[in-house]
Amino acid sequence: MKITRRQMLILLPAAAVAWESVLAGTPETSPNYKLSDHWWGMLIDIPKCIGCGNCVRACQTENDVPDGHFRTWVERYHRSDWLMANSGVISANPLIDPEVISPDGGKEGFPVATDTEGKYFFVPKMCNHCADSPCTQVCPVGATFVTPDGVVLVDQTYCLGCAYCVQACPYGCRYIHPQKKVADKCTLCYHRITKGLTTACCEACPTGARQLADLKNPNDPIHEFLKTHNVQVLKPQMATGAKVFYNELDGSVR
């Protein structure tokens, strides 16, 4: 086939445009990483969490999370006793009415607990990377999506900033980035896990209360853990296929 100079002049820019769109759809190179080999989730061991806020700070530093917004945060629950020792009266249902605080997302830890009654515990929260995520369902342009390896991400170059996904998330994990004006959320440190590292929050946790889990990896300790422990997900009635698993989750947690 003979291509004239005129044809060449037409073909070259067209090829350049085509190549650009090929590049746009190509994920960042991670030579040893195969999408189809992984299915990511996380294990949060509630009895191990001491509420130090290391994970919140690490996440903010790693991912440049704007102040006042959180990709991960820690809540402290205080569940009172059914029978109040001081007064001897039955309390309002403590399973329905726990006292919860999360000052600045628990970033700087928590004030000393003073009440001797009831029980205190910490619940780290983050995106649940749902398999049937209600947030990706509602996005009008498909800018947010579940990756083949099970992580919910946002294409921030494509997001309109309509905030419909923020409304659709039952867990309050999304926000509109105040400067970028697009939806922002936990990426499960996708830039790290695809390079064989763990997430910033897991890395910074001093007690190992947070463990990155690869459900497709037969050697991942998550499988043994799920078999032998009392593990739950948040708001199971929402049927979102949440993949953040909580060990010893109290019934009062939402």
Binding site: G68, H69, F70, W73, E75, I96, P98, E99, V100, I101, S102, D104, G105, K125, P134, Q137, V138, C139, P140, V141, G142, Y158, C159, L160, G161, C162, A163, Y164, V166, Q167, A168, C169, P170, Y171, G172, C173, R174, Y175, I176, K180, K181, V182, M238, R254
Partner: protein
């Protein structure tokens, strides 16, 4: 953080959907309602309301032109909004917006108005002033045929467009209800009744708006209000309002009786943060009072002047009530925590992009559009007569 009572998830403290998102269903509701009033005359042959037929169509168009503006102003990246047309996400209710809107604007409203006004447009294009003649010439789309046969075809085609328009109007506003009703994460919104309630409240607000506009414009033109016309409109308003109110009460009673996990939290919100806008404005002042007032005109024989005053009062209260209803849905749905453990406050800006001034401007803007449309396409028969005579 100030303004928070109890516990909110930390990302929930600021509201993402502002007063502009309140305006959006309010405006599309007026569009759908006005169109349905127009179709009553066209399809169901309710002759009494003929004087408002064209006004209703122009009102619908004026408001429809403004409807996407609050959405655009609210978007973080309005320049990316065309992506909704080019790469719509098939599972998203919102992705439908562009298509439903364009369909309704171009295939229904503009087409119906054009068909209905075609004879006048052609006549104006031959008789109007130098510059306006050009506008009318453009609007004829090159067809100057106004023979009897051609007008009969217009009439028939217009009837078919209206027939398609009724389900389209339902779709336009039912879909807005679905945007809220389909969010399972939010118990204040999540309800299959939501689209139905939205459709009926749309009819109520649109009919009330056209009734008020007709009365006000007729007064401004120093003409007499056709009492038979407003009587009929008020009757329709009364009955549709009763259906709307019954549906809303059904939803309320169902929630109270079921008292699911969200009930305590929502109940508290209605009795505190939303007390004024929901109980006082929406239910007492904006629904029960106008229903009562309209009810009086249905059972008691009142003098004409009293009826007109009652209609004006009931219509205004209705619009306030429906606006309050939109407010309570959109803002109310974001005031409580999805943990059901706390509440936040909505702080409306004044001169910000999504603030009060912009909202007021967007509410008034359709009236300017309507004024321009009425100038261009006068809906009053008497104005057309001399031109028609001159052309003969």
């Amino acid at each position: 953080m100030s303004g928070v009572e109890g516990f909110m998830y930390p990302n929930e403290i600021g509201l993402e959907w502002s007063v502009l998102i309140v305006l959006y269903p309010f405006i599309t509701g007026l569009v759908a309602g006005a169109f349905i009033l127009a179709s009553l005359e066209r399809v169901f042959r309710v002759e009494a309301i003929k004087p408002t037929y064209r006004l209703a169509l122009l009102t619908a168009l004026a408001f429809l032109l403004v409807a996407p503006l609050p959405l655009q102003l609210h978007l973080g990246h309005p320049e990316r909004s065309p992506e909704m047309y080019f790469t719509p996400h098939s599972t998203s209710a919102m992705a439908m917006f562009g298509y439903v809107y364009l369909w309704y604007l171009m295939a229904v409203l503009v087409l119906e108005i054009w068909l209905d006004y075609r004879r006048e447009i052609v006549l104006f294009s031959q008789s109007a002033g130098k510059w306006t003649r050009w506008i009318y010439k453009l609007m004829t789309l090159g067809s100057n045929n106004i023979s009897e046969r051609s007008l009969a075809i217009d009439e028939r085609a217009g009837w078919i467009v209206t027939l398609i328009g009724i389900p389209s109007a339902f779709l336009l506003h039912g879909y807005v209800g679905f945007i809220f009703g389909s969010i399972k994460a939010n118990p204040w919104w999540s309800s299959p009744l939501m689209p139905v309630v939205f459709i009926f409240s749309a009819m109520v607000s649109g009919i009330a708006a056209v009734m008020l506009l007709y009365m006000a414009i007729t007064k401004l033109r120093k003409q007499t209000i056709e009492i038979r016309c407003v009587d009929s409109i008020a009757m329709y308003l009364f009955y549709i309002f009763i259906i709307d109110f019954s549906l809303e009460m059904l939803d309320l009673i169902h929630r109270i009786y079921e008292a699911d996990e969200s009930f305590r939290s929502l109940n508290f919100m209605v009795h505190t943060q939303l007390y004024f806008s929901q109980i006082v404005l929406q239910i007492c002042l904006g629904t029960l009072t106008p229903i009562f007032l309209l009810g009086i005109t249905q059972v008691v024989k009142l003098p004409e002047i009293a009826r007109k005053r009652i209609y004006a009062a009931a219509g205004s209260l209705t619009l306030i009530g429906i606006f309050a209803m939109r407010w309570n849905v959109v803002i109310g749905g974001q005031l409580f925590s999805k943990s059901f453990l706390g509440y936040t406050t909505y702080k409306m800006g004044l001169v910000t992009r999504e603030g009060l001034l912009v909202a007021v401007a967007l509410t008034i803007l359709p009236l300017f559009f309507l004024w321009a449309l009425v100038k261009l396409l006068p809906p009053w028969p008497e104005k057309n007569v001399p031109i028609a005579a001159a052309a003969d």
